[in-house]
Symmetry: C2
Subunit: 329 residues, 2 copies
């Protein structure tokens, strides 16, 4: 499905979604919000072999890490801290993973959970047509705080991104074709970033506390996720490609593959960085408060909701803005 | 996998599950428990085409109903009330459901959510090898209450079951072979019970408030779920087959299929009734308080953890106690 199809579908689904006491945000944000003190967020993601990962090139421990990281990243994008993860595991009857593989998978999940201050607190094992992980995470917003939605960006906000871009996409390219990284010092670091993304939990809370008006995690590509934030907020977003903080080695891999480095950073996907809209005045304090770099990459303006990519002031229209729910992987 | 294999696996997984502040119950109960006031429970289930349902014989609306009902039943078994459901939908690229089918699916879910006092509050759509629904539900325990676990049964407690047994299994048999129900007035009601099980939410809360010491929902067969409750509680459970409240028509379908009616009731699965351990003195008030029948079907005793099925005092050993995570469906 194209992005517009998915969005149209979500719109139809949303029409059926009653809004009742206790639940403030419906389908369409990174997580659902449960009113309360503290407010809570709930995310639900699943990863299936052959769609979101390939068992042949993913170690069980990396897979466990990544399955949880994807959900924690959604929690981070709400400015919340994770409390508990509940995991459903689907096992194929053909080529069923061994108990050792399953243990390794949970070990990868546990290690990340521990570092993230949450617990893998329950789960279900069932048969499935392919190896499948369904992960729900409950998070809590710091007392007195409010979850940061995709929809709060205001005209004149600055668009900022945490950390660095393109490492995961470049890492995947290196996993598929190691020759692209021949002699590249950063090759292993790029592959590791693809396999073990680090959800920006501390940065998400600091951005929320420091005045971010809207936030989304960069899961499908900065450009596509910026489009989602812009549409949810009813604003026009502009990204200046020359400002993108590419991770070390990304440009070299892109060039070796005949790709444009800035577009790889803008559309590569699976960065699991945070894209935030921030009032300009809040930026200096935020850049000090965060435990990772925070880079202004664009701006929010009044206008038709959408996203424009500029390279030295000239609009660039890439063939695609990012990954649409893994369908192209 | 046999039940013991699954349990051994869960034991190994549990060994990796850190118990930290804020999460009281790990893998192995119907839901994970988050400490707090009110305490919360979180469940996670997924249903996949070909394993947990068959798209060919399940309408999208029924499927939506059932996917949510399964999770609500887990919430009911904790004595909690559901607040929000977060749904992940996996769509196959081959034979992709139409937008109308997906709407019908959500409609089935929404209708049950509305009747159950919860909201379908978010979700994710992605590609999957087969139609897949992953449902996480957050529930809250009434203020001042505690969630009822599987592990609290005491010797001399009475084992009780809500509602009636066998209807879902008989209904599935009728869906597969309508001739079994020729001339049977209850045939359609049995099929409907299979397609649209009613989670026992009010009964679960009343059982919790009225002193139930342990509870589990009957998803895989009364006998197998009684075994799970007994093992979790470290007690011996006895079920008296002649006391089982079979739903009207179940005996006729069983006889037509050459099955023993009481064993169909004991091992049929997907009843989504509640099995509770209750102190004998609490039973009269509970039977008045519940909105459905509550039938004593056995007893908890000191002894080697396990379950025995008695027919007029003679132990019966069926080939299997119930469905093991859908693998036999």
């Amino acid at each position: 499905m194209a992005d517009l199809t998915e969005r149209a579908l979500l719109d139809r689904i949303r029409a059926h979604t009653a809004r009742r006491l206790g639940v403030a945000v419906g389908i369409g944000d990174d997580a659902a919000v449960l009113d309360g003190e503290p407010a809570e967020v709930v995310t639900q993601d699943f990863l299936v072999d052959g769609v979101h990962f390939r068992r042949a090139t993913t170690s069980p421990e990396d897979l466990g890490h990544k399955a949880l990281a994807v959900s924690l990243s959604d929690v981070a994008a709400m400015g919340a801290g994770p409390v508990a993860a509940v995991v459903g595991l689907g096992l194929p009857t053909e080529d069923e993973p061994s108990p050792e593989e399953i243990e390794a998978l949970y070990r990868g999940m546990e290690a990340l959970a521990e570092r993230s201050g949450c617990t893998v607190a329950g789960g279900d094992i069932s048969e499935a047509p392919a190896l499948l992980l369904a992960v729900a995470v409950v998070g809590r917003v710091p007392r007195g705080g409010r979850p940061v939605l995709r929809s709060g960006a205001s005209p004149d906000d600055v668009l900022c991104v945490t950390g660095a871009l393109g490492a995961s996409a470049a890492g995947l390219m290196l996993i598929d074709d190691p020759r692209l990284g021949a002699g590249l010092a950063e090759a292993e670091a790029l592959r590791t970033t693809h396999r073990r993304p680090a959800p920006r939990l501390a940065a998400g809370r600091a951005l929320a506390a420091g005045g971010a008006t809207a936030m989304i995690d960069v899961s499908d590509g900065l450009a596509l996720d910026a489009l989602r934030l812009a549409v949810a907020s009813g604003v026009a977003a502009t990204i200046e490609l020359e400002r993108l903080p590419l991770a070390p080695g990304v440009a070299e891999v892109a060039v070796a593959a005949g790709r444009e480095p800035d577009l790889l950073g803008a559309t590569g996907g699976e960065d699991y960085e945070l894209l935030a809209a921030v009032p300009e005045g809040a930026l200096p304090a935020l850049r000090v408060a965060l435990d990772v770099p925070l880079t202004p990459v664009g701006r929010v303006e009044r206008g038709v909701p959408g996203v424009r990519l500029l390279r030295d002031g000239v609009e660039i229209r890439p063939a695609r803005l990012g990954w649409e729910h893994g369908a192209e992987r």
